[in-house]
Symmetry: C2
DNA sequence: ACTCATTTGGAAAACGCTTTCCATTCTGAT
DNA sequence: ATCAGAATGGAAAGCGTTTTCCAAATGAGT
């Protein structure tokens, strides 16, 4: 009974493995995190003992000692929107196989909530941070700057990132969609954005559209704002209002594709000929857009690829490969279907 | 120059705050995590200094010392499927406001990958674990058992959980859908499941369906398996094969609703009258099911609520409130649309 | 003014690892 | 056999907190 009594559920520690293997704690540590520093024979013996004892290294302790956590903090607005969970998945596709874990936080489109999450992540001493969007609170920027933690801003093309960025330009996408519509003979565009969520992205898309109308010498697009819960497809009713208030409108661009699909449904109910009377287009893509009739013409962003590239950039930086400050610009694709 | 030189980017530490505030480190620690143990005056002074210095407590160190991390490990098969990211979001809805962070891992429907993730999470000494599904590798079960970490298994009704569980019964759902179809006069059912992913859930749904046919004295449903990438809606073509190989079939149940929607599209192309010639139904629901014509009759599970309840159960346990081992059974809803 | 109980703040010992030296023990070339 | 140099294992000093346990200071009751 001279065996030290361990508290219930107490996990086995490095020291105990060392004792059981007849080596010092240092050696056990090395077998696990620096295998080359130890002879094959010792290593195999120690690892066998460790496995037998069910040893699981305490990463709090190891992080504290080594100042690396192998954890990446990721902020997304919400996981309820497949777009964002897809970006997340993309990042995970790259990060998890590389041995990094993801600490996830939801900002609900609030820069203050984002800032709080960043603070929490820094408290966890994450090795890197992935942010969604290019708007951040001054406090947040300050926090990140002085921490020196590698950061990738995802989703929007951002030529002047905090640190690194990867994404597509919403202005360009808006302009491209505008030119496409104008090329199809449309002359009176309308734009429907959400309000309160994702504001700068909406603004960029509208700005792009406006660019296209200017180029063509047309009136600026009529802009509407709705308060749609994203992903629900509510808000499509506005198509009726637009046609009533601006009867000359011959193309409506929706900032979200769910709403756009909702609008197509409503247009059918209103016996509006799509695209004869009015064309409909949207941003973002999912199988819904392809399945509805008429199919929705829309801009597809490479969302999963965005996440993957963000992960890759972070890994490169963590491996010490990248010169500070790198921007990756991704494109987009116009998916041309029947609605426009 | 007797000031200790701190390395670049070195975050300020407890000790430095203490020095600046003219108190001991202990006092600073208490101001932050145990404010009542310190007088109001001291506390306010210390917190002001801490804020001024931009002090962010190191959670690795604090977790190591306190044996609590305020981190919950969550395993989902994939974030590419909105169903699972919705469960995640539900859990986050409850956990984040309570001051817990989510460490996320993707199992890709592999119990071995799940086991590895659990091991990693235990290494991080998470305060609790959320798992998807009721199937786990023996190693995983063993690991969790001996660690004593609170665990909630989500998604499936699981009367004999590892620890706690919350979800709906897929057998019941299958049976309910079967009875519904039989009640509508259908006599020859077919079932289409995916293979390789989510196997036990598929099996449960089929089992439920079979239960319904048995009750009614009908032939067991003809079962098909496809290898569909979830969420893409591929695989709907099989409706043609089924009708050819089993012409008497008058109802097809799809294990996934995306595939079911795909089948509706294909049926239209094949000029199969839905639901006249054959009824179509599915499991799971999203806006797609409601927007296609004919609308898809389907089973809706309370996914977000599942995640939220899982979060609540975990919090209750962590607050020491729950007697070990609790099961929450959630229901489901038959959404009756035109397709069946 | 004098106890006694109660706050309030501090010293020191964990928490479980990694890391930086150092001291051995092997190699194989002379 | 001898010796440099590499390979191998260990001792000790952190990493930045929290958590006892104590001492000093404060306040209430006589």
């Amino acid at each position: 009974m001279s065996q030290p009594v361990s508290p219930i559920n107490s996990p086995v520690r490095l020291q105990e493995v060392a004792q059981a293997a007849g080596v010092s704690a240092v050696t056990v540590s090395r077998c696990i995190s620096n295998p080359d520093r130890v002879s094959r024979k010792t290593r195999e013996h120690v690892l066998a003992i460790a496995a037998e004892l069910g040893y699981i290294p305490n990463r709090q302790a190891s992080s504290l000692a080594s100042a690396r956590t192998r954890v990446i903090g990721v902020v997304v607005p919400t996981s309820a929107n497949p777009i964002h969970s897809m970006v997340m998945q993309g990042a995970a596709d790259v990060l998890e196989p590389a041995g990094y874990q993801i600490l996830l936080g939801h900002s609900h489109f609030s820069v203050d909530a984002e800032c709080d999450l960043v603070r929490t992540f820094l408290g966890h001493r994450v090795d890197g941070i992935l942010l969604t969007g290019k708007d951040h609170s001054p406090d947040c920027v300050d926090l990140l700057r002085r921490s020196g933690t590698p950061v990738v801003e995802m989703f929007d093309y951002n030529p002047e990132p905090l640190d690194m960025s990867v994404g597509s330009s919403n202005v360009d996408a808006g302009a491209a969609l505008g030119r496409y519509l104008i090329g199809k003979g449309r002359r009176h565009l309308a734009f429907v954005g959400h309000i309160g969520l994702d504001d700068s992205r909406m603004a960029d898309r509208l700005a792009g559209l406006r660019l296209a109308t200017e180029e063509a010498g047309l009136d600026a697009p009529v802009a509407y704002e709705i308060t749609a819960t994203p992903g629900t497809g509510q808000g499509g009713e506005i198509i009726g209002t637009i046609i009533r208030e601006h009867p000359q409108t011959d193309a409506v661009v929706f900032a979200g594709h769910y709403v756009a699909v909702g609008a197509i449904r409503h247009a059918l109910d209103l016996h509006l000929d799509i695209p004869g009377r009015v064309a409909i287009a949207g941003f973002g893509d999912s199988i819904v857009s392809g399945w509805i009739r008429p199919g929705l013409t829309t801009i597809r962003f490479p969302v999963r690829e965005t996440g993957m590239e963000a992960g890759r950039m972070l890994l490169a930086r963590l491996a010490g490969k990248t010169p500070s400050g790198r921007v990756t610009r991704l494109g987009f694709e116009i998916i041309s279907r029947e609605s426009a």
